[in-house]
């Protein structure tokens, strides 16, 4: 940023200087010595790196829909079937498994850690024989389209840092979100919609907050920020013209404002001014494109029956899944959903049942819908939370009731479409579902893999900020090639 300011100032002086004194190459060399990246505009830089990122083959995925299950669903009650926990129901978690690893403050004072096997039935589905809980009958129905990763692990043990880590690649805030990186790297397909959209919904279970820092542009241009769609009459806030203002007047006003802003840019060279002009223009175009997209009334009956009755009720997870399909179909690179309510520290069996009722059918419908439109192969859908839940009970354990605490050491997510192997189970946890036994996938690896599927090399998608290059995966991350078709 500062660099850009200096550059703008020097640019003019340099032009004057060169034309008047014609000092030629000597001064150019001096300039590049003083500021090494001086003659390399950030645009070229980006193009260089992007070209290098698309090495030999076209990316499979063009778009991402991330169905974030906020609050951390219990992998042990949904995907990671562990009969051992049922056999040892109520017995203490062996120290040889826990190995003194960190616990949250909510259970670290517990006198014992009684193992709690799931109360729900599991069956195997699809060609991969993936174990899926009876809570997810619709997900079971699309088992052959899904790739389960049972060996995800993260570093954070509490919601906010874990969520921030999964979304931005760092536990502290202010780094660009995944969607912002995609917008930065690939831009928008549709010029009338933002490249990165955010949809929120809330289940009845114990919820955890989501904040706009999760869809921030961080240090990237603010044009890459996620645009939140809300459920009211105004899906995007402040988008509509004030009452009494005609579209032509708005256009006139924006033209004049653009003139002023351009003048300002010429003077100060702050790139944020350009971002602002672009945002005004995008918002103007969104005045027509957004109502077109968010109107779910014209969806055919078969689609409504696929997503379930809730999909017509704005603000529900089902409606957001349907909206996500419409946005993605219209060229939005990254659609980020958050569904709250999975944080079941107590009464897990009943809480998770309600959550699954909300989330199961629409998630599966989204996959089916994309598939029947021929879009699944170019759209990557990701389903999962910020960490897992413990195999032992938080609070008191009864025959049919338990709670589970946060568990960062292993959890399950699933992906579908976009070039992952369909009907595949990757990674494995131990018999207690506590530690990872096979093929661990770290959050950085996950990010590297998703970028790879989008045709981006995570080591080359960089942005220079505060004197160093930043990446979504920061300094680590390996592409998990074993899950790529």
């Amino acid at each position: 940023m500062e660099n850009t300011f200096i550059e703008n100032g020097l640019n003019k002086n340099r032009r004057k200087f060169l034309s008047k004194a014609s000092l030629g190459i000597g001064s150019l060399a001096l300039g590049s010595l003083l500021i090494p990246d001086f003659y390399k505009s950030s645009k070229e830089d980006l193009e260089d790196s992007l070209l290098a990122q698309l090495p030999h083959f076209a990316p499979k995925a063009k778009r991402v829909i991330y169905l974030f299950q906020n609050g951390a669903p219990s992998q042990l009650d949904l995907f990671d079937y562990k009969p051992m926990l049922q056999k040892m129901y109520g017995e203490d978690l062996p120290e040889s498994i826990r190995m003194g690893q960190r616990l949250t403050g909510m259970t670290s004072n517990q006198a014992s850690f009684p193992l709690a096997g799931t109360v729900y039935d599991f069956k195997q589905y699809g060609s991969s024989g993936a174990w899926i809980s009876e809570l997810l009958p619709y997900t079971a129905g699309i088992a052959d389209d899904i790739c389960f990763i049972q060996s995800m692990h993260t570093e954070a043990i509490n919601h906010d840092p874990a969520l921030t880590f999964l979304q931005t690649g760092a536990q502290v805030g202010n780094r660009p979100s995944m969607g912002a990186w995609m917008s930065y790297g690939l831009g928008s397909e549709n010029h009338n919609l933002p490249a990165f959209c955010v949809l929120l919904s809330r289940g009845k279970g114990n919820g955890q907050g989501v904040y706009s820092k999760l869809w921030t542009n961080g240090f990237l241009d603010s044009i890459h920020q996620g645009v939140q769609f809300s459920s009211g009459d105004d899906p995007v806030l402040y988008l509509n013209n004030p009452t009494g203002m005609k579209s032509s007047e708005r256009r006139k006003m924006l033209d004049k404002l653009g003139e002023l802003n351009n003048k300002n840019y010429d003077e100060f060279g702050d790139p944020e001014i350009l971002a602002k002009i672009q945002q005004y223009e995008l918002a103007y175009r969104m005045q027509t494109s957004v109502p077109e997209i968010t109107d779910l009334k014209n969806e055919p009956e078969s689609i409504v029956k696929m997503y379930g009755p809730e999909c017509l009720v704005p603000g529900t997870y089902a409606a957001n899944c349907l909206l996500a399909r419409k946005l993605s179909e219209s060229g939005v690179r990254f659609v980020q959903l958050y569904h709250q309510g999975w944080d079941a520290h107590d009464n897990l069996p009943s809480q998770i049942k309600g959550q699954c009722k909300d989330a199961d059918q629409p998630s599966a419908a989204l996959i089916t819908d994309l598939k029947q439109r021929g879009l699944l192969d170019e759209t990557l859908v990701i389903w999962g939370g910020e960490f897992g839940r413990t195999n032992y009970c938080q609070g008191s354990l009864t025959k049919d009731n338990y709670g589970r605490d946060h568990h960062p050491r292993s959890f399950t997510i699933w992906m579908a479409g976009g070039g992952v192997i369909p009907g595949f189970v990757y990674g494995k946890t131990d018999d207690f579902g506590y530690n990872i036994a096979e093929n661990p996938v770290h959050v950085n690896d996950f990010h590297a893999t998703v970028l790879h599927m989008m045709g981006l090399n995570h080591e080359k998608l960089v942005f220079r900020h505060l004197g160093r290059r930043y990446r979504l995966t920061d300094v680590s991350g390996h592409v998990v090639k074993d899950i790529l078709a």
Partner: protein
């Protein structure tokens, strides 16, 4: 030391020699005039000697056995001695005509040749021409016939290992050129251990730290890439088979994937024979509703997508004729694309993927696509089609997937198509005919519970053609006897409105219920004779006639609450019409000990001190917990004329036995009084 120093004599002697060659004849120049130039030769000569010495020491460890070593040693020595000799006798040479020209040439040749042989030792003998010549012409291999060893592993060994481990040099007595020689290993033993593959010698050498003496390839040589390491590792772990085809492994096997990565990537890159379109032209074709982009940075192929169906016109496709050759993907779903545009699209010869879902084309128009011989996927959902119109699919040789749902084709049509085109996957979409799910609940648009004028009751549903049936007497609506809502209801009086949605092929929705209370006018004055509880005092007496209904959150400021003492309010009716009835709106929240009133008393008269009792009623207490609920109690008022109306509402003094706060007093909460 030797590799570091050797460049000094090369550079210095070159400079000096060239200078000597281009400098004019000695007769005109007195060399003593620029003694510094001769220092160049002196330093060059000294560094040549030291380099030669260091080289001699280096060659003693015996690891260098290349053919060029002999000549490198001799020419190096010649250079060292020759340059020294040249320096000492430079004055004589400079002045001796012929030698003045010959000496630099000799030195140049000697430096060049010794340098060349030296480089041959470290970089391999063919290092200059290697990048330009393919000594073994690469045979064209496609993925299906690729052998893991021959086409994946051996090329790596050839590039990174053969330079030392060939049949002539055989460093460490290891030759890697043939499968037999690989099997027999070298002086340190066998390359792999079939019983304990991941402990194999070759892997150990690869995975040792780069600065370890035993690390292979040696640190100064070109290192293996991550991909190459993975290939060798997986191949050894798999048992080092020499003949296996990559396709003999299951797709999830690493060797299958690694081979695919190499071959399919290469095949993909060479897939398109046509030229790249001009990038400025591509840029200019991007507009607000049309995106034109390369499918990959290095590919000439283009993908075209249309967004926002409203703006679409035929010209938008006509513009694309300039890049018609390059378009491989075309997506115009949900636009007003017509059969005319289809004729233009039929000329995009290289199209592979075409999405025409929900466009304005007709089944007849599809015949214009018969020339698309490379098309492998076409989406025609949402277009009225019949089987004969789809005959054209047979002309599309590469076609393997068709999307035809919501096209009016019957299931027997689909069966016919499937039998006619057995190689084409036919996507018929999600079949909702057997799916029966409940309807979403209807939406009552009237937001406020309390209304004053007669008001239209507006009910909506997300699905436009549902039947909405309602009741006004708090009974459950049913699909037969309950009246049909037809945008024709007007609110009047106090109503408990219940509505439910019905539609064929769906389960009925849940019932939605809302209470409406009418308030025709307010009293001229209201005063509370008893103080409400401090925590729940709302806005005092004004709360009762502000038409703001309270919510289930009893501390929302719209409720006033009483505990242990009665609610008493005096309403002044000066200059108002005489009310026919009064309604009291209350909250039931049994869990929070908020109960229905125990008794309600109504007093009236013209003197507030001497009011007459009109009515006293006891309310029935619930007999168990029930969900939160709003209740209202309506009473007719005397038909005579009077100025004051007084209400006394007693809360429950002792909660019943089934309540968890048994014996303690209960609350009464009132949000509104309504006069009609």
């Amino acid at each position: 030391m030797h590799p570091l120093l050797l460049h000094f004599p090369i550079a210095l002697i070159f400079i000096y020699a060239f200078w000597k060659i281009i400098s004019p004849n000695s007769n005109q120049i007195i060399v003593e005039d620029n003694p510094n130039a001769d220092d160049i030769l002196l330093i060059g000569s000294l560094s040549a000697s030291i380099s030669a010495l260091m080289g001699l020491i280096l060659s003693q460890d015996g690891s260098y056995t290349a053919d060029g070593l002999f000549w490198h040693e001799w020419l190096g020595s010649v250079t060292a001695f020759g340059s020294y000799f040249w320096y000492t006798s430079r004055n004589y040479i400079t002045n001796s005509g012929a030698l003045h020209r010959i000496a630099p040439v000799i030195m140049l040749v000697s430096v060049t040749l010794s340098g060349h042989f030296g480089a041959g030792i470290t970089h391999g003998t063919n290092f200059i021409m290697a990048p330009l010549t393919q000594n073994e012409p690469e045979e064209e291999v496609i993925f299906d016939s690729a052998r893991v060893f021959t086409h994946l592993v051996r090329p790596i060994l050839k590039e990174k290992c053969f330079a030392c481990h060939n049949s002539r040099k055989a460093k460490g007595e290891l030759v890697m050129e043939t499968s037999e020689s690989l099997r027999s290993g070298g002086e340190s033993g066998m390359l792999w251990d079939t019983l304990n593959t991941d402990q194999s010698l070759i892997l150990q050498r690869i995975f040792l730290p780069e600065d370890d003496e035993e690390h292979m390839p040696p640190i100064e040589k070109n290192q293996l890439s991550d991909y190459e390491i993975e290939v060798i590792e997986e191949w050894v772990i798999d048992g080092a088979h020499f003949e296996k085809l990559a396709t003999s492994y299951p797709p999830e096997h690493p060797l299958y994937r690694l081979t695919a990565e190499k071959f399919l990537a290469a095949e993909e890159a060479n897939k398109y024979a046509f030229n790249e379109a001009d990038s400025e032209l591509i840029e200019s074709l991007n507009s607000s509703n049309r995106s034109v982009a390369k499918i990959a940075g290095n590919s000439p192929a283009l993908a075209v997508s249309f967004f926002s169906g409203q703006e679409f016109s035929l010209d938008h496709v006509r513009d694309l004729q300039k890049i018609g050759e390059q378009i491989v993907q075309f997506n115009a779903a949900k636009t007003h694309l017509t059969d005319d545009a289809l004729k233009l699209i039929g000329e995009f010869k290289n199209l592979e993927k075409l999405n025409l879902n929900f466009t304005d084309i007709s089944g007849n128009g599809i015949s214009s696509l018969s020339g698309l011989k490379k098309l492998n996927e076409i989406a025609l959902s949402g277009i009225a089609l019949n089987v004969s119109e789809l005959q054209v699919l047979g002309d599309l040789d590469e076609l393997n997937k068709v999307f035809i749902w919501s096209t009016g084709l019957s299931s027997s049509d689909i069966i016919e198509l499937k039998s006619r085109f057995p190689l084409i996957e036919i996507e018929t979409g999600f079949d909702a005919t057997e799916v029966v799910i409940p309807l979403p609940t209807p939406l009552i648009r009237n937001k406020k519970k309390i209304f004053s004028e007669n008001e239209d009751l507006v009910v909506d549903h997300y699905i436009s053609d549902v039947e909405l049936r309602y009741t006004l007497d708090s009974s459950e609506p049913d699909s037969v006897s309950s009246p049909l809502y037809n945008n024709d209801l007007t609110l009047s009086g106090n109503i408990v409105f219940k509505v439910k949605a019905f539609k064929e092929g769906w389960k009925s929705s849940e019932t939605v219920s809302k209470t409406f209370l009418q308030s025709s006018f307010n009293p001229s004055e209201v005063s509370l004779l008893t103080e409400p509880d401090k925590k729940y005092s709302g806005n005092g007496s004004e709360t009762l006639f502000d038409h703001e209904e309270g919510t289930f959150y009893h501390a929302d400021g719209n409720w006033i609450g009483y505990l242990g003492r009665p609610f008493e309010a005096l309403l002044t009716l000066q200059g108002t019409p005489m009310p026919g009835s009064i309604t009291i709106s209350c909250l039931n929240s049994i869990g929070s000990s908020i109960m229905p009133p125990r008794t309600i008393e109504l007093w009236y008269g013209n003197d507030p001190e001497k009011l007459k009792l009109w009515k006293k009623e006891s309310i029935e207490m619930p007999s168990a917990y029930s969900p939160q609920d709003f209740a209202f109690y309506s009473y007719d008022l005397p038909s005579t004329s009077y100025e004051y109306l007084k209400l006394i509402i007693q809360p429950v003094s002792k909660l019943p036995a089934w309540h968890s706060n048994i014996g303690k007093p209960g609350w009464v909460f009132i949000d509104e009084l309504l006069l009609n």
